[in-house]
Subunit: 336 residues, 2 copies
């Protein structure tokens, strides 16, 4: 009798199926690390332990899902900030709009932008940079602005990596965002970046919907154009979501204190202080740019993303400081 | 043989069980109306039809769940606005704080508040009312303010109904909020009321979390008090979330256009216009206060919650206008 009886046949299938289940379980256990781009070490352990603590029902540190709010800075925390994409966008906008503004040829800081003199642009100081931001970000409807940003992102590449800016996001942080959400966290952006600039691309890139994106803003005005209501972007600062502005924005937009916050510079210090000034479980993390090879190394002396006071306070408060070079197996998604 | 055989016994049980299932199904069908406090009519039909359309997969009007944003005004739309609770709160606060401010005895509008002269208070106009709001809402931390509002709500009763203000919410609108959420909608408050005043009680009463509550605000400042960071409420207006401010606030806080909006006065007109100025499916509804018996009847001539221009436009735009007297079986939850 060479043929299997129906009974035997089922048994063999059963065994094959069991083997498959065993194999799948092993494969799954291997891939079940939610943070594969993080090297084993204190930073990764601290993250995993915190999430374990606040999600353990009946545990001393349990936090109900509705209160699991996590806020992330963007520039330098979730994507590369050298150069600052939104500043490049502003400069590109000024160049594109220059034909409509012949006066810019002789007025600073526009003149320096148009001749490509970045030193001259920087010499115009905070006031000059603000003028550039207002001229490039205001004077159109919210719909028009969205289309302009979309087009810019689709056609502009990072000077060093020659890739769209939206690819220069940190793979370990993408994993962290997913890991937190898989554990019931609501992830928010709280960034100094422009709120409408960020909303154009973040849902696709970070999985964060527009209503969970908080940033700096210019004033909008409800107006009628050609019989249709529009929101007109005025060249006037509404809110600067940086430093002490971050806890203010968190209170305004979210209305409760996050239990976790992630930043990389002194601009995030007050946000980290704010979430740490409570007896409830909380987790504060700083991304320290230590990797000159794969990205850029900078901290206390950098004009962009300076990390000085917050680095000192991290030591005192026991915040987690990520050493990009040591802690991250991979920096960008496009790396092998 | 009087005793049932095991087989018979099972059969009988089976029949009983089937009867129970039938009965339960009928009972369930009866109670499955998601809007039991709404009388059958055009308003109820329009709501149900809209929700059916946008949730029907593959249908022409289908809207993905993430885009099902619904915004609700509060005063006069979700709870009674005669009198405006937050104004009563402000007056009560001024009376409570008066001993610390002897100068108020001679300065208007405080003087009128302290002697109970409401005409004098109103005669101080918008500027006077703003002064009252700032004096009563500013000058403490966000935590302190929350405690003050909580205590006021717990100890104050509506002059007519002799019940806490939080009980004067509209039962049909509570059902509508639940119905929308059960169909994947994210429900938001977009109200002229104070954002921090509303956040104290709305999660419990409406099931709307703080991060989905948008309102008027005063400025907050990040400060250190006794070695701890606080958010200090400054007596300075930050944003007036009324009229054209509503679409502006929607864009700022939510970042996308709602597909449904609910209001009751001319203060909601621009919000309704904003959600209607699109080719996508949308639903605009106005609560018309027509019930002098169970609540208050008012519209075009009322100083509180005036409904005039928005009522005209509702006719032109085909918005749903709820006739409280006709459309609502029950107004408040405490009614039988």
């Amino acid at each position: 009798m060479n043929q299997l009886s129906p009974h035997q046949s089922v048994s063999y299938r059963h065994i094959l199926w069991l083997l498959f289940v065993c194999f799948a379980s092993v494969a799954n256990a291997k891939s079940s690390d939610p943070l594969p781009s993080w090297n084993t070490g204190a930073s990764k352990s601290a993250i995993v332990q915190f999430v374990k603590n606040v999600t353990k029902k009946g545990g001393a540190d349990f936090v109900p899902a509705a209160e699991r709010i996590a806020t992330f800075d963007n520039d330098g925390t979730l994507w590369s900030e050298q150069p600052i994409a939104q500043l490049i966008f502003a400069l590109d906008r000024v160049k594109a709009e220059a034909p409509k503004h012949p006066e810019w040829k002789v007025i600073e800081p526009f003149k320096s932008v148009l001749v490509g003199d970045m030193k001259g642009v920087m010499a115009s100081g905070e006031h000059g940079l603000m003028e550039l931001m207002m001229a490039s970000h205001g004077g159109m409807t919210t719909n028009e602005f969205e289309a302009i940003v979309k087009n810019w992102l689709a056609t502009t590449k990072h000077p060093k990596y020659n890739r769209p800016y939206t690819e220069l996001v940190y793979q370990p942080m993408l994993e962290l965002l997913s890991f937190l959400r898989a554990n019931g966290f609501k992830t928010y952006i709280v960034s100094g970046g422009g709120i409408e600039f960020m909303r154009v691309w973040m849902e696709k890139v970070y999985g964060i919907p527009p209503e969970q994106i908080v940033g700096s803003s210019i004033k909008n005005k409800f107006e009628w154009v050609d019989g249709k209501p529009v929101l007109m972007r005025l060249p006037e600062l509404d809110f600067n979501d940086d430093k002490g502005g971050k806890p203010v924005a968190i209170q305004k937009f979210i209305g409760r204190r996050p239990i976790a916050a992630f930043g990389n510079s002194d601009g995030d210090l007050q946000m980290l202080q704010w979430i740490s000034a409570t007896n409830r479980p909380h987790f504060a993390l700083i991304v320290h740019h230590t990797d000159a090879e794969r990205e850029v190394a900078y901290d206390r002396d950098s004009s962009i993303g300076r990390l000085d006071k917050a680095l000192d306070e991290a030591g005192q408060q026991g915040w987690t400081v990520v050493d990009m070079k040591k802690d991250w197996k991979q920096v960008f998604p496009f790396e092998k």
